[in-house]
Symmetry: C2
């Protein structure tokens, strides 16, 4: 079988460019309107995308008022979108640090059942002191503590998703037996962070387990991804960086006894697309001109943990500034490295750097014709840098439509992307096997029903 690529549409406010909402044709008034999200999901589905995706954090995104700060809870949003789509996968971010595993296992199981097998979970540990204070914590646990909890959290959730064997439900009217208690298993998990006795409240979902997605690129994050992730969202500015990451993650997966095909690597790409390259660049410049420097500065200072107040907007950023960045959260280091590389390589002014980051916070922003964008995707896909892409349109729906109408047909003509869905579940789209229940796999396991 020819290897084909995966495409995920990362839905985010009015678009990924921080100033997209100021565009005269933006949906600034519809940021919280479910119909707006549904319309974008339907555009992606019509183009046969593998999935849509929402980022998340249980707190206000930003204190600076120059961008939409609020966001709805993504699992409920995707449940509503599931009712108005048929095939496209539905990936929600949720935090292992701030959820309880039993509650979260239920939410995703429910989403997988009501969408007929389209759910994916983007697993994050959430690096925000402010968010910790929304959850009765004095301080955020350290990255290593968060990853330890995350690993146990995943183990618990996996057991819960497996706790009803696939054939547990009999619904036998004649005998009056609805389910087979021997096939509903108390998981009896006793760990450091969690003690969870029961079976899940609901039967096994169509995918067995929703797809495990991950996005952390720190050292802890990569180790976690190699072990657990079936799809990875990642940010790279150059094919070389992407190739190095790709090789590293595949090797880590193999070290955990997995096949490299069991983990799909999807770098972000945020494309300005127009009929000519000049028009695409002009659009990018126009949207960049709508940015509010105070917003970008606050974001960058927060990321780097340093003040940039002494810098001039139209002077070159000193090379050492991000190399020195001292008080950096571990998970920010990889994104900061991307920025340090930009400064080293391209020597931008501060304003220029802010514009680079305004597009997609360090993800790869490109501007060109449909063919130019398709060429980049083809190049990365065919040269060990990507199994597909996390498509991050700067402006929704216009630049998603430019992608689905312009770029997708070229990828299809090249035989790199599906022209029809061949499966029904997100696992089908990603080419991932449906896992057997842990309990069905181990016949010596004692059966319990709660």
């Amino acid at each position: 079988m020819t290897r084909t690529l995966s495409l995920n549409a990362f839905l985010h406010d009015t678009g990924h460019h921080e100033a997209s909402w100021r565009h005269p044709d933006s949906a600034a008034e519809r940021v919280f309107d479910i119909d707006f999200a549904v319309e974008n999901a339907q555009i992606a589905e019509q183009a046969k995308f593998d999935a849509i995706f929402f980022a998340d954090g249980p707190g206000v995104w930003s204190a600076t008022p120059h961008r939409p700060a609020g966001h709805l809870e993504p699992i409920t949003r995707l449940a509503a979108i599931a009712a108005r789509t048929e095939r496209i996968g539905l990936i929600a971010t949720a935090s292992t640090t701030f959820y309880d595993p039993y509650n979260l296992a239920r939410l995703f199981s429910s989403l997988d059942i009501l969408s007929n097998g389209r759910a994916g979970w983007n697993i994050v540990t959430t690096q925000s002191e402010a968010i910790a204070r929304n959850f009765s914590l004095k301080e955020l646990p350290s990255p290593s503590e968060r990853y330890l909890r995350a690993q146990e959290f995943i183990d618990v959730v996996t057991k819960l998703w497996d706790s009803w064997e696939d054939d547990a439900i009999l619904a036998d009217r004649e005998s009056g037996v609805f389910f087979d208690p021997e096939k509903v298993h108390a998981i009896n998990h006793v760990g450091t962070h969690f003690q969870v006795e029961g079976a899940l409240a609901a039967p096994r979902s169509p995918q067995g387990r929703p797809v495990y997605v991950q996005a952390g690129s720190s050292n802890d994050g990569r180790a976690f991804a190699g072990r657990n992730a079936e799809a990875i969202f990642t940010a790279h500015q150059t094919i070389e960086d992407a190739q190095a990451f790709y090789a590293d993650i595949k090797a880590r997966a193999v070290a955990f006894g997995r096949s490299p095909d069991e983990v799909k690597i999807l770098p972000g790409i945020s494309p300005f697309i127009a009929d000519t390259e000049a028009e695409a660049v002009e659009l990018q410049h126009y949207v960049n001109s709508l940015t509010v420097p105070a917003y970008g500065l606050a974001q960058l200072e927060g990321l780097a943990g340093v003040s940039l107040a002494h810098l001039e907007l139209d002077e070159a950023v000193p090379r050492e500034i991000f190399g020195e960045a001292g008080n950096v959260l571990d998970n920010n280091r990889s994104r900061l490295q991307v920025i340090a590389n930009i400064v080293e390589r391209d020597r931008p002014t501060l304003r220029g750097l802010l514009h680079r980051l305004a597009g997609a916070r360090g993800h790869n922003v490109v501007a060109g014709t449909p063919t130019q964008v398709a060429d980049i995707i083809t190049d990365w896909f065919q040269n060990g840098a990507a199994d597909g892409f996390n498509v991050m349109p700067p402006l929704y729906p216009q630049l998603l439509e430019a992608f689905t109408e312009g770029v997708v047909p070229i990828l299809q003509d090249r035989g790199l992307f599906r022209t029809e869905y061949t499966g029904r579940t997100l696992r089908d789209h990603f080419g991932l096997a449906r896992p057997e229940s842990l309990y069905a796999a181990d016949p010596t396991e004692e059966a319990h029903v709660v």
Copy 2:
């Protein structure tokens, strides 16, 4: 304005009768099919019901295999149903003992926003030792501890729902200001159970706050309801019991400085309906004949905390048996009192008692013609026993349809029930005011954005 009644459709598996799934025409194969729930919601909406409702507990319902034991998470289900309905209210049960307030506030806020103002929260404290063991707890907190936590939980959630003032979002493209930071408030809650700093992640929802619903009838539960609830689901077998409860709750609300109209009391009614009374009774007897006594016995023993193994199915239940019931969870007492009253009044055999409870676990099961059912509803509504009803069809969708096609038109002819929706939100349907934000109401409150 004429006082009109509220109708809520309590969706539950194949129906409220525990043996309904064994009926040849039941939807036993569709218990977890979202389309089945949507179809029932649409029937209720076509009849202009105020709301639909799902019960919930984060664990398997029952260890005995004679009934559907699994159930999906209700907020995600209602989000999917919201996408395929227009006006009907959407009430989900969620536990204050096993959720975190920030997460739960987000889930309901999101449901309220994506449904355009139709969300309601049935607030429960969850009385189950088995469920506590799904959440790393060695034992269930006592009822009074649970209600203390519940009260603080509600206070936190209310502050979060109010944390964005209604006019916080400006979306002013010209100035580049998306929201007014002076109108997004850090709640800075410092309490016994919770310390929550932040504003909610999302703006204020269409209803301001989802509707607060409650169902506990214990002494703690009634006190809590009088203070917090805007709608109450309750179980009574006789109009006299219902009148006493009604008067008690309204008095408690008044004692908290509320108007008695601010709390709607909705007793359960589970009607077998047919063209003649004899046919309705025959249908009830037929469904009763499908019960598995072992299931009902296990449920009753669990409720009463005593063994019933020494009793014969076809002999009268001794009067003292439920009076003596020793090891009873506090929240079970009120339901157990209903059962003790049945035994005292009607002197049923054990089998007869199990059949009574099989219908709706102590709720009022009736059998009759549409007119007879409408007469009961009218009588209770006009004589201080109810502001409306929690309709619990024994078999879905057939006995919901019998209600909407038979009983609803009679209630409409009598001027007791709407023929069209006059509002858009659940608060509109229930005749409840939209609450102003706590922060808008108090101009001295300092404004913070997180």
